[in-house]
């Protein structure tokens, strides 16, 4: 599909595009981000510093990025998806060579004004590339082994680089996002079954390799798995995070302890309270009402994306939208499952709420792509 295929009559141009933006989605994003500001304000002990204010500035920057991306026609994004993917790969390699070490893992490239986390970029670039891959690929060939192998390799290369950092959480998110795009694009379910079997085999291998010289994961990752399986085993050591998170959430009860009244987070019992574990503060201060409200907002964002994708006849656009939505979905689902003790602590932030620059900017950029697909969707009969 090329630029010429868009009928000028039906695709908005110039400033008219503003009218065609998916404004409901924008409102939802602002709502979620605002919940984040509130929480960051609270965990700082009722202060805009050091987290809430920079987060707001970043969100504004993110909104601007989103609008800019939204106005760029979708074909441009499809055409540069390969380039974006290669840039992301290069950055991942670079971070391996020259990245800053934070929290025991090498994840960032320091750009001076912000720390760029190439794995975030990688997630979206991978979704873009796969969407354009399936857009290009003849529908009949989708399930042929070779044409399945290609996206598999495209996924595994950045995944391996991310895992090497090591950032298991992002690697898993990448895999899930890519899997969703492939699934929706029509790859035979048998492949997924096969991958499932392979995956469980791999998990077995990973667990069996523990303590041997070919150990596949880092010790801390094994430890986190152990603790996930039995958090009570080490309440003051590594199981601490999960126990404290559950205490914070649980003590919130139905309606929470009230804004700024959470003792768990304010007294610093919570680890990384402003990043991965921020959901616990929400749970503590706003209770079940607060947590379900946020969950509903998130679900609505995904829903609006899916709705937009289903109404989009352009294959690249719908695949991209679904891929971004799925990535977003797994973001918050894994994070929530993690802090609620349903999944091992793998280090996935709560999207748009957790304090963090690159994740926010990249996500807003991704929603820019979704908006672009929405605005520039083919119209007509």
């Amino acid at each position: 599909m090329s630029y010429l295929e868009y009928t000028v009559k039906t695709v908005p141009t110039g400033l008219r595009k503003v009218l065609y933006i998916n404004w409901a989605l924008v409102v939802l994003l602002i709502a979620v981000a605002s919940a984040g500001f509130l929480m960051l304000y609270s965990v700082a002990g009722g202060s805009l510093q050091p987290w809430a204010e920079p987060q707001m500035l970043r969100f504004v920057a993110g909104l601007i990025v989103m609008f800019i991306f939204a106005f760029v026609p979708t074909w441009f994004w499809r055409n540069i998806s390969g380039v974006a993917y290669l840039i992301a790969l290069a950055l991942l390699v670079l971070v391996d060579v020259a990245g800053s070490v934070g929290m025991g893992a090498q994840r960032w490239i320091n750009l001076g004004f912000m720390r760029l986390q190439p794995s975030e970029l990688g997630k979206i670039a991978l979704v873009m590339l796969l969407a354009s891959y399936y857009d290009w690929l003849d529908v009949k060939k989708v399930s042929r082994p070779f044409w399945v192998l290609v996206p598999l390799v495209l996924t595994l290369v950045p995944m391996a680089l991310v895992m090497k950092q090591p950032d298991l959480g992002t690697a898993i998110l990448m895999m899930l996002g890519a899997g969703v795009v492939m699934f929706v694009a029509g790859v035979s379910p048998w492949y997924f079954a096969g991958i499932g079997v392979l995956g469980s085999g791999l998990i077995t291998a990973v667990m069996m390799s523990r303590g041997t010289h070919w150990q596949l994961l880092k010790d801390y990752q094994y430890k986190r798995i152990d603790i996930f399986l039995d958090p009570g085993s080490d309440p003051l050591g590594a199981g601490y995070h999960i126990m404290q998170a559950k205490i914070a959430l649980g003590s919130g009860g139905w309606a929470g302890r009230g804004f700024l009244q959470g003792t768990q987070s304010r007294l610093n019992f919570l680890p990384e309270k402003h990043t991965d574990f921020i959901f616990t503060t929400l749970g503590e201060e706003f209770g079940f009402l607060g947590t379900t409200s946020l969950l509903i907002l998130y679900a609505l964002i995904v829903l609006f994306c899916l709705h937009s994708a289903l109404n989009n006849k352009d294959r690249f656009s719908s695949l991209l939208t679904i891929g971004v939505a799925a990535t977003f979905f797994f973001y918050f689902a894994v994070n929530m499952a993690m802090v609620m003790g349903l999944a091992p602590v793998v280090g996935v932030p709560l999207p748009l709420v957790s304090y963090g620059g690159s994740a926010m900017l990249v996500l807003m950029g991704a929603f820019g792509l979704v908006q672009s697909a929405h605005i520039h969707r083919p119209r007509g009969r």
Binding site: A185, I247, S251, T292
Partner: protein
């Protein structure tokens, strides 16, 4: 590339179908998350609310002030002093090594200190404060405090530490404290939470260790609101603890100090005891060690100096050292023979200087022999042959039995470390432990306190006190606890016929006061304080026949550590006994070292100070006066028993 509209249609339909499936899966996941939220926040909420409150409120232990130890007159023996230390918190310090390097520019820190700190820091949680250096001076403490901002994680602290103002004097009795070790915790399945406090001091030796429970007190509790790293945000409440109990010992610190001064350069032990109550007035083991060094953690060099000293300062010879009692044991042999009926008070034995038993010849210490002697004369002149004969008549078992009655052969119960039980051998013992039959020669050796018999200076004092009082006096060391007197348990009677006791007493009176007595030189001239005693010599090396043939060497020709131990037991005043003493001077030889010590100890105890020269025979006064003037005594005065109930 162009695609047919049909293709696009088909792909669209497929995408829709799959997307709906995906949406369904996502709804299921969201439902699962919601269910989990409900579980945590509604169903189990109460339980987590409880845990949350527990989290917020932390209970901190407030270490109690350790009980003080006083002597019988209120002189402080063990006290608590403020000590200033620098502690490090890893979670604040970041790079521990760098911080310590910076700190070492402000206060003296050895490489050893730094290594130890780094090791301890690694062993504990990041929020447990680790002492980097204690016993800082006020100056050093202020320097640390002023430079606080440049030293992340370092904070100055003020705490209490044990100190012993009398240094060496009572080290063997009172012992010392030290930080809780892993071994201390291992013995104790559910230890006092106080023991978990890093560097908490507990008794390691002596009274400090034996009366640990009383001295320690109980921890106070402070309820504080803390954050997760344990930093105190707010104090909520406080339950004061109970400081340890103050212990007053029966020891007379001045007497103890006097004896320590008298024993400079010697390897000796003296135990002074009240003959009625059993109060231990002094328990001296010279040389001694400085317990303050141990509290601080003794350096390898200092420890090696103590360990390698051939006078063994680390051993408490007064209760732990066991020696053959030598002739002092003749008190026991005499009483045993009398009590068995095999020897009468009037029986006389002829001493030709030796006794032939079977083919063996047993010598008396006096070559020419003593001639005819009754028991009184035999004790006075310490005739060996008389007691060989007496023991031969009654046999070993009554002697062993009498020794037990006099307090030998079993460890007295006192709150001191490593109290030896000594040995009073009998036939059964030899069979059981040596797998040999008892021989007549064993009895004869035992009769004069040689062979297998072993006693500690403490036991010698007890034996003498029992002879003096005629009661089974039991020693005691604790006079009062928190100013409440510990009641004296009246001693049982020894149940020995008065004439027997009097007979032996007359003998020991003669030892000191008769011109024939073996300790006549050590007599007391003041008739109100007359002393009775018994000398003894414990062989360190067997005298072989070859030695005897070669003629006995002069004492000063024998190497120090091969010379005999000199022993002396005594009590005074003779007619109304108050104090008894047991003395062992290791390798003192026969050079009259033990008896004057015993005499001075008794005089000091009776007069309550350095004995007046008028108590001594005129001919010795000048010499003794000079000796006393040369003594380096501490200037110790009792303090008002101010009880630190902080």
């Amino acid at each position: 590339m162009r695609r047919s509209p049909r293709d696009t249609e088909e792909s669209s339909r497929k995408i829709s179908r799959r997307a709906l499936l995906l949406g369904g899966a996502q709804v299921a996941i969201v439902a699962g998350l919601t269910a989990r939220m409900r579980q945590l926040q509604i169903v189990d909420s109460k339980q987590y609310r409880l845990l949350s409150d527990k989290n917020r409120i932390n209970i901190r232990l407030l270490p109690p002030a350790r009980g003080l130890i006083y002597d019988r007159n209120g002189i402080l023996i063990a006290g608590n002093e403020q000590n200033y230390s620098a502690v490090i918190l890893r979670e604040d310090a970041g790079n521990v090594r760098d911080t310590l390097d910076k700190l070492s520019e402000l206060i003296p820190l050895s490489q050893e200190d730094i290594h130890r700190t780094i090791r301890d820091v690694k062993r504990h949680s990041p929020f447990v404060p680790i002492t980097v250096s204690d016993r800082l001076t006020w100056d050093q403490l202020s320097r640390v405090a002023v430079n606080g901002p440049a030293l992340p994680g370092i904070s100055p602290e003020v705490g209490l530490s044990r100190y012993y103002p009398l240094d060496e004097d009572l080290a063997h009795v009172v012992g010392y404290v030290g930080p809780v070790s892993e071994a201390d915790l291992k013995d104790n399945p559910s230890p006092d939470p106080l023991l978990q406090i890093p560097k908490f001091q507990i008794g390691k030796l002596g009274v400090e260790a034996k009366l640990e429970e009383q001295l320690r007190g109980t921890a106070g509790l402070e309820r504080v609101e803390v954050n997760s790293v344990g930093r105190v945000m707010r104090k909520i409440g406080e339950e004061p603890g109970r400081p340890g109990e103050n212990i007053q010992l029966t020891i007379d610190a001045k007497l103890q100090d006097f004896l320590m001064a008298r024993l400079v350069g010697q390897s000796a032990a003296v135990v002074v005891m009240d003959v009625e109550k059993g109060d231990i007035l002094a328990s001296v083991s010279a040389p001694s060690f400085n317990p303050n060094l141990f509290v601080r953690g003794i350096s390898i060099k200092d420890y090696a100096a103590y360990r390698d000293n051939n006078h063994h300062p680390l051993i408490n010879k007064a209760v732990q050292g066991v020696y053959p009692p030598g002739s002092t044991f003749k008190i026991v042999t005499g009483l045993a023979a009398l009590n068995s009926g095999q020897l009468k008070l009037t029986d006389k034995v002829f001493c030709p200087g030796y006794l032939k038993v079977g083919k063996r010849i047993f010598h008396c210490w006096k070559h020419g022999g003593h001639g005819w002697l009754d028991i009184e004369g035999a004790i006075t002149q310490s005739c060996d042959v008389f007691f060989y004969t007496a023991a031969q008549r009654c046999g070993i078992d009554p002697i062993a039995h009498m020794a037990k009655r006099m307090g030998l052969g079993e460890a007295p119960e006192l709150p001191m470390s490593a109290i030896a039980s000594g040995l009073t051998p009998d036939k059964k013992w030899k069979k059981k432990y040596r797998h040999q039959d008892w021989l007549i020669g064993d009895t004869i050796n035992a009769a004069i306190g040689q062979g297998y018999v072993l006693t500690s200076p403490l036991q010698l004092a007890i034996m003498t006190a029992r002879l003096a009082s005629g009661k089974a006096v039991v020693p005691r060391l604790v006079k009062s606890v928190d100013s409440v007197e510990v009641p004296v348990v009246p001693a049982d009677a020894l149940n020995l016929p008065q004439p027997f006791l009097d007979g032996v007493r007359k003998g020991v009176w003669g030892v000191v006061n008769s011109i024939h007595g073996t300790a006549n030189y050590a007599r007391i001239a003041d008739t109100s304080m007359l002393m009775a005693g018994k000398t003894g010599t414990a062989q360190v090396r067997n005298i072989t026949a070859a030695d005897r043939a070669a003629g006995l060497a002069k004492p000063d020709q024998i190497p120090w550590n091969e010379r005999d131990h000199a022993l002396f037991v005594a009590y005074a005043p003779f007619d109304k006994p108050k104090v008894a003493v047991g003395v062992v001077v290791e390798h003192g030889g026969p050079d009259h070292s033990a008896a004057p010590l015993g005499r001075d100890a008794l005089l000091f105890a009776m007069t309550g100070g350095v004995p007046p020269l008028s108590a001594y025979p005129a001919r010795y006064r000048k010499e003794i006066g000079a000796e006393f003037n040369a003594l380096k005594l501490r200037n110790i005065e009792p303090q008002p028993p101010a009880r630190s109930r902080a």
